[in-house]
Structure formats: structure tokens, C-alpha cells
């Protein structure tokens, strides 16, 4: 990692700085478009947030872009009283329950693929690479059948297991790229010290791959948190709903109460927003490094 992200970042800065600072004059077109795009991004977000604090009457009567004259928390109260906490807990269980195992098994696989030898490991690696092209949608009918036959329909397992499976290809790809960058001398030194491969994996490769591990954890966590198709097809009990699905049903229930619907949109996004504010740097730098590799 020290060998990986650090040079990328510094070279990025040093290449970027003179390019735009001295050799390049102002990029008017890009600048204008950049600010315009900011407006396109923020106007709907702003509208969602202010509207969620309006009363229904206020919503229909007032200027939509004006902040609420008398802000109300009633919409949030309504959403929270409608089992939001349960759906939130469901989402947390599914997201953590799928992301953590997915990253751990992918890391072990990535370690084996980089450090191990033999034709079959190469075969497994190409199988994972081919897996990048499998769309979840195309496999949903057999997954539905499997879950019914296993008696797992309407269970957390039904949402977690396929989520892990579809997170594996990209996670293995990114992690193996990073494990490959750990200098061989370090592995040799561990071996001299009598460390087993298992110990080397956890005590050497794991800490050194940490930035990549954090990145894929955030990325896959986001994917699973926002996942809609699996919950839609593999659950039908209200107690099993995760947030995106709850949002959808809530919208059907309260279609006339737009501020309440938007309050639920804000509430489902808030936890991710908090995580984003905390882990933003990691996510952004990790994503660029992960995808440009």
C-alpha cells in the first residue's frame, strides 16, 4: 500500500499542479460546465431536503424552491413511526452480513491467486474475471428457485449469499492487484521468521492492503445497501424489507403526501451520507486507483 497509493497520489499532484497552474491557462469551458453541473446536481438535492420539511398544504401552495415558512418535522415523525427503524436494521444486517464476508473471502482468494502456484488457481482467477460480465438480473430466476428450494425465501440469507457472490469478482480483481504490489522481500522476511502462509496473509498482506480493503468495503457496501432487485424478488414479508424496498412501498402508500415521501428519501440516504463524509478521501482516491489499474 505504501508502495501503491502513495506514489499514485504524489505523482497525481505533481503532474496536475504544473499542468493547470503554469503551463495551462484557464479552462473556461470546463469551468463553466463544472459550475453548471454543480447546479444540476444540487438543485434537486436542495429541493428534496427543503420539501421534506414542508407540510402538505405548504407544499402545494408555495414556491417550490423557497425554504419552508414554518419547517415541520412531522414528515420525519411519520416515516419513523412506520417501522423505519426495522427496515434500517434489516439494511444494516444485510449490508454488513454480506460486505464483510465478501471482502474477507475475496482477500483470501486474492492472496492465494497472487502467492500460490498451479494451473487451477489461474483457472479460478479467470473464472472470477469472467464473472465480471455476469449480470445479476440474468440469474435472478434460478436464484429465486434455489432460495425457495432451500427454504430460504424471506430470510436474510437469501439476500446475503447472492450479494456476496456478485461482489466477489470485482473485489478479487482489485485486491489481487494490490497484493501483487507487496514486495517479495517482505514475504521472504516473514518466511525466514518462520511465519506460516496463513500468518503471513493476515499479519503482512492484510495490513499492507488496507487502503484497498477499505475501498472495496465501502464500494460493495454501497452497492448492497442500495440493492433493490434481490429484496424485491426474494422477500415479500413487510418485516423483511430493506430500505430501498421500503422506500418504494412507502411511495405507493403515501403518493399524495410528497413531503413525507421525500423525508423517507432523506432518511434512507442520511446514513450513507454520514459514512461518505467520514470516508470520502479514502473512497475517492481508492476508486480512482482501483479503476485506473
Amino acid at each position: 500500500m505504501a508502495t501503491q497509493t502513495a506514489p499514485v497520489r504524489t505523482s497525481g499532484r505533481s503532474a496536475g499542479a504544473p499542468k493547470n497552474g503554469t503551463t495551462h491557462r484557464k479552462n473556461w469551458l470546463g469551468g463553466a460546465f463544472g459550475w453548471l453541473w454543480l447546479l444540476i446536481v444540487l438543485v434537486p438535492v436542495y429541493w428534496i431536503v427543503i420539501t421534506s420539511f414542508k407540510t402538505s398544504a405548504n407544499y402545494f401552495g408555495s414556491n417550490p424552491m423557497a425554504p419552508p415558512a414554518s419547517p415541520t418535522l412531522a414528515n420525519y415523525q411519520l416515516v419513523l413511526e412506520n417501522d423505519f427503524i426495522r427496515y434500517f436494521a434489516n439494511s444494516v444486517i444485510v449490508t454488513v452480513g454480506a460486505t464483510v464476508p465478501a471482502v474477507l473471502v475475496s482477500f483470501m482468494a486474492a492472496f492465494a491467486i497472487v502467492r500460490g502456484a498451479g494451473r487451477w488457481l489461474k483457472l479460478v482467477n479467470s473464472l472470477f474475471l469472467m464473472g465480471l460480465a455476469i449480470p445479476l438480473q440474468a440469474t435472478i430466476i434460478p436464484i429465486y428457485l434455489i432460495m425457495i428450494r432451500l427454504g430460504m425465501y424471506n430470510s436474510f440469507g437469501a439476500l446475503i449469499l447472492p450479494s456476496i457472490a456478485f461482489a466477489i469478482p470485482l473485489t478479487v480483481l482489485i485486491l489481487s492487484n494490490f497484493v501483487r504490489d507487496v514486495p517479495n522481500e517482505l514475504f521472504e522476511a516473514m518466511r525466514m521468521d518462520g511465519s506460516s502462509e496463513w500468518g503471513t496473509m493476515w499479519r503482512l498482506a492484510f495490513p499492507l492492503t488496507r487502503p484497498a480493503l477499505v475501498t472495496v468495503t465501502i464500494y460493495q457496501g454501497l452497492q448492497i445497501w442500495n440493492g433493490f432487485l434481490l429484496p424485491l424478488i426474494l422477500t415479500d414479508r413487510a418485516e423483511m424489507r430493506v430500505l430501498p424496498l421500503a422506500l418504494w412501498t412507502f411511495q405507493g402508500q403515501y403518493s399524495v403526501n410528497i413531503p413525507a415521501v421525500l423525508a423517507s428519501v432523506v432518511l434512507t440516504t442520511l446514513p450513507i451520507l454520514v459514512l461518505y463524509v467520514v470516508g470520502r478521501r479514502q473512497l475517492l482516491s481508492g476508486l480512482t486507483a482501483g479503476f485506473s489499474k
Partner: protein, 305 residues
């Protein structure tokens, strides 16, 4: 660009690397889950396309019935056409703007870093949340348009087929342009500054530099980004399902949605499986095409160097 040195160094060290053959078992947990819930279902969907199943009762062999039904149904060419439109239009909408935005945020001014943070917000929202918000925002009676008395915004956005398609493309762009501009930003920062300095000495202007240095250097990134865009558009489901449910009049009924509605609404799992197989085949063909394109570009770049 960025891949070349890393991969090369990776290969060099791995040939010198001491490796052991006894690590195979470490891949077993990942392999087992992946095979059980991704690979087997892929074969399963192929098998189910030759069966008759209503989703609840018994499954029976039905030969080519489902395939005959799907291939003769005018709904399939329509769904393929709509899917094609979504892929091509969202690519056209996203790629130039992502590059432009990528060039812009790859600069070093501090406010650009702040902008980049804000640009990223739409990506955090689930497709369901985004669709629900836009549905309210674009409401012809109570949305932003009528509220602000803006004639252009006051239209039955989701009630007209062409407009609904436009909204779908716009929302995809709204959510994903920030992500792709981030990928481009990463790639742009890897372009050696010396190339620009040399170009400037040769008297090349800003626009000229962009077209003869930046754009050619971004070719590989464009392949990566385009692949993600194409596969993403091909499998767009939640967004359209929540926004229009395929309407109006099937105007936004893409292949993935067509499969869902056939299987889980009309309870025809056989034909739905056949559609799923078509989805896989289309995806593989597109990914191959893009990779070919990428391979050729890479070679020609090498020849040029």
C-alpha cells in the same frame, strides 16, 4: 496508461517470486459461494428457458416452447430497441460531459476538490430514491415546473414516451457522470506534464492540446468507462422499474424489465429465462466488442510509440 507500469512490474516480481502450491484451499470459500450463486444460476437460467414453470408449482420440460414464444413475440424486438436506445443515448450523454468534467476537476485549485466532493453526492442515493424524488420533482401538476411557472419544465414528463426516455437518460447521467468524471480525473492526472510543456513550446493551443494529447491518452480509460456504462445501461432495472414501470405504453420497457415482468408478473418463468439468456448474450457480445476495440487501440498506440 496507468496500467502499463504496474502490470509490468507485477509480472517481473512474480516471476522471481517464491510461490507455494499449497494455497489453493484459500480460494475455496469464495469459489464455493461464487459458483453456487452466480455460475450455477447462469447455467440454471439456460436450463429453465427450456422448461415451463409458473414460479410456484412444478417445473416441467417444455422444449423450445419458451424460445418460440419469446422469439416470435413483437415485445422482444421492441425491448431490444429500447435497451439499445438507453445504452447508446446514455453513452452519448455521459462520455463527453464526463471527460469535460474530468479535465476540469483534475486541476489543482482547492475549490475543485470541494466541487468533486459535491459532484459525488448523486452516486450515494439508491436508484429507488433518485427515481422517487424525480417523479415528484417532474410532476406536471405539483412539481418544480408548475411551482416556478416554468413552461419548459411543465410537461407530462413520464406520460409521454419520448419524454420518459429522455428523463431516464437524464437521471442515468445525473447519477453516473460524477463517477465517470472521477475515473477520467484519475487518468488525466497520470498524463506526464512534460507532454503539455512540449506541446506548448510547439505553439499548440489549449484546444489543440486537448485533442492531440489528452484525448488520445485517455483511450484506455474510455474503454473501461464505456464498458461500465454499457453494461450498466444494459442492466438498468431499479431506476426504470420505480420511475415508469416500463411505461408509458412500454416506451421504457428495457430487456431486464421485460424479463422481470414476464417472469414475476405474468408468471411465465420459461420465457423470462429465455429473455435472461438473451440479456447475457447481448452483454457478452457488447463486452467483447468493446474489448476488441480496446485491443486494437492499444496496439496502434504501441505502434505509434
Amino acid at each position: 496508461m496507468s496500467t502499463a507500469p504496474t502490470y509490468a512490474s507485477g509480472k517481473v516480481t512474480s516471476s522471481k517470486r517464491t510461490s507455494t502450491g499449497r494455497l489453493g484451499w484459500l480460494v475455496l470459500p469464495a469459489l464455493a459461494i461464487f459458483v453456487a450463486f452466480a455460475v450455477l444460476p447462469l447455467f440454471g437460467v439456460f436450463a429453465l428457458s427450456f422448461s415451463s414453470w409458473d414460479g410456484i408449482g412444478a417445473i416441467s420440460f417444455a422444449g423450445f416452447d419458451s424460445w418460440r414464444a419469446v422469439l416470435t413475440d413483437p415485445g422482444l424486438p421492441h425491448a431490444l430497441w429500447v435497451t439499445f436506445l438507453v445504452i447508446v443515448l446514455s453513452w452519448i450523454a455521459q462520455t463527453p460531459l464526463s471527460i469535460l468534467l474530468g479535465v476540469f476537476i483534475s486541476g489543482s485549485q482547492r475549490y475543485r476538490a470541494v466541487l468533486a466532493v459535491l459532484f459525488f453526492l448523486p452516486l450515494l442515493l439508491s436508484a429507488a430514491a433518485v427515481s422517487i424524488a424525480y417523479k415528484a420533482l417532474l410532476d406536471p401538476n405539483f412539481g418544480l415546473g408548475p411551482g416556478l411557472n416554468l413552461g419548459i419544465l411543465t410537461q407530462d414528463w413520464l406520460g409521454d414516451g419520448t419524454l420518459a426516455m429522455g428523463v431516464v437518460i437524464f437521471i442515468i447521467a445525473w447519477q453516473w457522470i460524477p463517477f465517470h468524471s472521477l475515473i477520467y480525473q484519475g487518468a488525466i492526472r497520470q498524463i506526464p506534464g512534460s507532454m503539455y510543456e512540449a506541446a506548448q513550446i510547439d505553439g499548440a493551443g489549449r484546444v489543440r492540446q486537448f485533442f492531440s494529447i489528452t484525448l488520445p491518452q485517455l483511450k484506455n480509460t474510455m474503454i473501461t468507462s464505456s464498458t461500465l456504462m454499457v453494461v450498466g445501461s444494459l442492466t438498468t432495472f431499479d431506476l426504470i422499474f420505480v420511475l415508469t414501470a416500463g411505461g408509458p405504453n412500454d416506451a421504457t420497457r428495457v430487456l431486464a424489465l421485460d424479463m422481470y415482468l414476464t417472469g414475476f408478473r405474468a408468471n411465465l418463468m420459461g420465457p423470462a429465462s429465455a429473455i435472461a439468456v438473451i440479456l447475457v448474450v447481448v452483454g457478452l457480445v457488447l463486452a467483447q466488442l468493446l474489448q476488441r476495440l480496446g485491443g486494437r487501440e492499444r496496439n496502434s498506440q504501441l505502434e505509434g510509440a
